[in-house]
Every structure is written in C-alpha cells, then in structure tokens.
Amino acid sequence: MKKVLAKAYLYLLLAMLYAPLIFIAVFSFTESRVLGNWTGFSTKLYANLFTGGMNGGSSLLAAVENTLIIALISAAIATVLGTIAAIGIFNLKGRKKAGMQFLNNIPMINPDIITGVSLFLLFVFLGITQGYVTVVLAHITFCTPYVVLSVLPKLSQMNPNIYEAALDLGATPSQALRKVLIPELRPGMISGFILAFTMSLDDFAVTFFTRGTIGLETLSTYIYADARKGGLTPELRPLMTIIFLIVLILLVVMNIRRQKANQSK
C-alpha cells in the first residue's frame, strides 16, 4: 500500500510538471484557433510556421531570429568574460576571494525585474539609445555570473602546477592560456555557455525594459504582446513544441557525452 502511494505521488508530480508541455504538443497538431478545441489531426500549423502563411507570421519569425542571435552573442561574450573573471577570482586569496564570489552570486539571486529596471535607468542616465545593443549588453550582464559559477569548480579541480609546467616548458603566458588552461577549462566553459544561452533565451523582464522603443521583439516579448492583443497565435503551439524538442535533444546528447567521458576514465 505504501509503495502504491509513493508511486502515485511520483506520477502525479511528473504529470503536473509535464502536462502543460504535452498539452501544447498535442494541440499543435490541430487547426483550431482556440486552445483546447480538437478539430482533427492536421500539420497545417507547422506548415504555416515555416512558410510564414499566417497573421503576423514574418514578425514571429523575426522574433525567433532576434532571440537566437541575442542569445548566441551574449552567451559567447559572457563565456569569455566569465572565464577570465573566474581565473582572476580563483587566484585571489582569503577574504578577497570570498568577497568576489559573494559579489558574483548577488546578480543571480537578484530578481530579474530589478536587474531590468536598474539597467533601464542606467542606460537612460548614460544617454544610450536603447535597442539591440542595450539588450545584448543587458543579457551579457546577467549571464556572466553563471559562466563564472561553472568555470570555478574546473579551476579548483585542476592541478595547480599545470600552468607553471607550461611556462616551464617554454610557453609564453598567452600560449599557456591557449594550449593548456583553456583545454582544461573547456567542459566548464561549455556548460557555462549553454546555461547562459538558455538564460538569455527565456528572459523577459530584462529584455522588456532594455529594448527601448524601436520595436525590437524577442520571442518572449512577442508572445506577451500577442497574448495581450487577444489570444495566442495558434502557430506558437508548434513553435513551443519544436523548442522543447530541441532542448530535450540537447540535454540527452549532453548526458550521453558525459557518460562516455566517465566510462573512458
């Protein structure tokens, strides 16, 4: 009896977590404009999505494109900045090190809305015209701490003499960085990049406050605006399903790679 209850609890929990996703995925295969109305199986929404044959289709695709480009650029820059910062923090001692780690953690627990508003005020104060660049800058700002956090453990696992060994064998500091330090930190940098990428991908609050008035839309702001106009565009359903599948595949690939890496050791 106890076992049954425990199992039931587990399945209930999983159902609650995944029901909305499955719901969207199932209803992406019907044409009904109203969510929850099954009007027969159809892949028309998918076709519309890719051909742009729908209301405001081009602006949806533009929003997706913006989202991906912003996420790629800001995750890439955040990875570089975060790795350098992590190396710097790692080489600090005692109280300074603890202090820097603390400062690095604050932006992550800080509510997005506050980060967004304060960045908005900062850009206004500095007189920077808000648009694409400010959104990217804002995303780099809140992504970098996550990279620092995923690179730091790699640094402490590393043999502290490795960098010196490279210098000793004739590598200049920049060669030692490229040929030894970065290959060692690469797994941490990759997971930091993926983390930063996903953080940027689903950000709404910060983007909303820093995109200015030029009409820049990312996926999240587009959906928000769309929902306010009255009902979600039905083509969002297949889009959500596709994004979910991509993330799922990414996760599975990462897990398989990790398992292989563990086995080869």
């Binding site: 043999n159 003499n161 490795i162 010196e164 060994a165 490279a166 210098l167 000793d168 064998l169 004739g170 590598a171 200049t172 500091p173 060669q175 030692a176 040929k179 030894v180 290959p183 060692e184 690469r186 080869s264 050791k265």
Partner: protein
Amino acid sequence: MANDYIIDIQHLSKSFGGVKVLDDINFYIRRGEFITLLGPSGCGKTTLLRQIAGFIAPDEGRILLEGKDISGIPPYQRPLNTVFQRYALFPHLDVYDNIAFGLKLQKVPPKEIEKRVKKMLKMVSMTDYEDRSVDSLSGGQQQRVAIARALVNYPKVLLLDEPLAALDLKMRKDMQLELKEIHRKMGITFIYVTHDQEEALTLSDTIVVMNEGKIQQIGTPIDIYNEPVNCFVADFIGESNILKGRMIRDRRVAFLKHEFDCVDEGFGEDVPVDVVVRPEDIYFTTDPAKCQFKAKVNSCIFKGVHYEMWVDTDTGYELMIQDYDPYPVGSEVMLYIDPDDIQVMHKERTRNVYEGTMVDQTHVDMMGGVFECLPQEGIGAGDKVQAVIRFEDVDLLDHQEDGVVAGEVHFLIYKGDHYHLTVRTEDDYRIWVDTNDIWDKGDLVGVNIAPEAIKLTRCND
C-alpha cells in the same frame, strides 16, 4: 671568471608577508652535479627551487646561470626544466603530446620531435605508451612521463621538486635508482628537493641542508653524515645520540660524565660543546681493558638488519645503540667508542640573551612580555638592558595563558638525560630551554621565568 659553476646563487633572500623564508642564501652548483636541497617542510627549499625556475622573483640577491644573471628572465625563457611534485601532466594530451609539448613550442621539425620523444620514452622505459591518456597511467608511470617531458628539451639544469613524494616505498626505491641512472646517462645537472634524508644520501653528489631559510651545511653525503656541523644536521640526518659535552683540551673531550679521546682540535680548553655519536658507533666489548663505560640494556628491538637498543649508562644517560647482535634486556654491558666516531660541534649558543627595557625597578619588558626581575643597583625605569637566562631556568607551562608570553615548541632534541627545546613565541622570538619534561613539536606552551633567574646588565649605547 673561469670556473665550472653552472649555477651560482648569491645573497638570495625572500620574505612572504613579513616572514623571512630565505635568508641570505649563497652556494654554487658544479656542471653535471646531482645536488639535493634537504630540509624539513617550511625550510625554504621549495621556494629556493621555484626562484631558480623563475616562478618567484627574489627580494634580494642574484642567480647566475653560467655566469649570467637570470633573475629578470621569465621562466619560459630559462633553459631549465622542472619535474613537479604532483607530476602536473596535461590531462587533455596523450603521453606523446605531453612529452612533445616543449619541442613543438620551439618549432623543432616533426621528424626530430618524433626521434627525441621516442628516445626519451625508451630512457624512462615507457615505449609503447605514447598513445595512452595520462589519466590511465599509474603514479610511477606519470612520474616517468613528467621526467621525460622535462628532459626531452635538453635543459642545462633539471629541477626536481620532491618528485617521488607521492609514490609508495618500493616504487620510490626503484625510481631513485633509475633517476641516478638517468643522471649518469644524460650528464645534466640535477637540483633535487626533498625532505627525505635517506633519499638525499642515496642520490646526491652534494647535499645542502636547510632549516628556517638558512643553509646549515653543504657537503657530500658522507661528510654530512659523519661530520654534522650542528645539532640540527646531526638530528635531521640519520639516527644520532646528541650529548652535552666539554672540550678539555685538543683531542680530549668529556661527555656522559666520562672522558674520551677524540680527533677534534682547535676548540680551545675547557669549552662547552655538543657531541654526536651515531648509534652504530657504540661498540660492545667483553674486555675490561677496552671498556670505557658500563650500561644496562633497557630495551631491544629487531629492525631487520640490526637490533636497536636503548641503554642506561652508569652515569644516568640514555643512549641508542645499533648492533647486529642483541643483548638481553636488563643485562649489564661494557661499551666503548672509537676516537674517530666522536663528532664534536661548537655550541650555537650556551644561554638565552635578549635585549629589553626596564619598566620599573622590578619589571623588564622583553620578548613581547613584561617579566618580573630582582631590583638591581643602578638600573631603573626606561633603561635599556641585556638579559641573560640559562636554558634550564626557563619554565614551560601547559596553558599558554598562564605564561608571561605564549609560544609553541618548534624543535626539540633529546640529549641523553634531558630535552633541548626551541620555543617560538607569538612575537617570533626564540627561547631555548633545557627540561626533563616531555613535550612534543607543536605543543602550545606558556613561558615563565623566575625573577632571580634573569641576569640583567645595562647596555651602554
């Protein structure tokens, strides 16, 4: 300057956070020599090696490589290579690429690289391992790769930082022999850092014994073992009986409350000295004519090749003796020591001497504390004084807060019938103490001195 010194170290000093780690180090290394920097942890030997490698800049002094000052040259431009304590291999590269790392940076042609890497792999008996990932190798194998990686660049000097410390005993012994063989084959100068005195004696042409940032003695393993210059070296290298003695005249020394013939001269007459006798140099005899003193066997332990015995002499001292034959516990034995086997050393000091300032007639401020003393004619508040305290007059207390100053037992030597301790106070003063109580290194103690034990004289400035 025509000499064969490959490295010449002149007046090298280094401090970390106000603590002097190296204090005016001077020595030279001959081309092709196997030299070992030996000392307990924290003696500065690794700091010295890292300065030679170029990872730390000296505060003062110079390091000459073939007569040229290399102090300002970064590590990657020094023709020296290092074997690190924890191997420090590059985990993302296989064995071949690890060894080829330095050559590739120098842009050596690939054919030449291959030839040299293969030759090195053969030298360290690791042929056929070139494609293996370094994580799949044992500690000993990783160490071999690290040695090959350093030597493949044909450095002028190879620096080794406790390279065998992480290996188990058997492996360490094998690697010692191999290292010696590699040194012979390559003819490169080796600078080896270790805290293991046995390793140093086995491997080195020359040993530099270090303690507290200073060189204690430089010499061949045989010199260092047979003729230690002070108690620290005698105690650190091998087993020894260190005893308080008195030089009566040339070639005649008193210790254990007996007089012995010895071979040392030039100490003067009636001078306090320290005497070292190795446990294997005290002989048993059945001939009363040869017997110099008698003792009773207190314990006898089998140590593999020899027996280790502790005996109580007829004059109340404890001695360690090593012999191939055991003597039963409780038996009376007759002993003698050859004049050659008695090593007489100058005493580094015979009493504690400190500078202080009088607080009032009966209190003196010294060593970071205020001690009570007896009032003395002509010395009053504010006077600068010199205080002399005998070793046996310093009281050590179990609790730091009970003493006038707090300290830590820093070093100790058993001298046959008492312990000689070095106590380091919180303000980094040294106090030397003779005591019968048993303390351990690292014990926290309070230090007290009876007022009548402090002998004051006024400093004339």
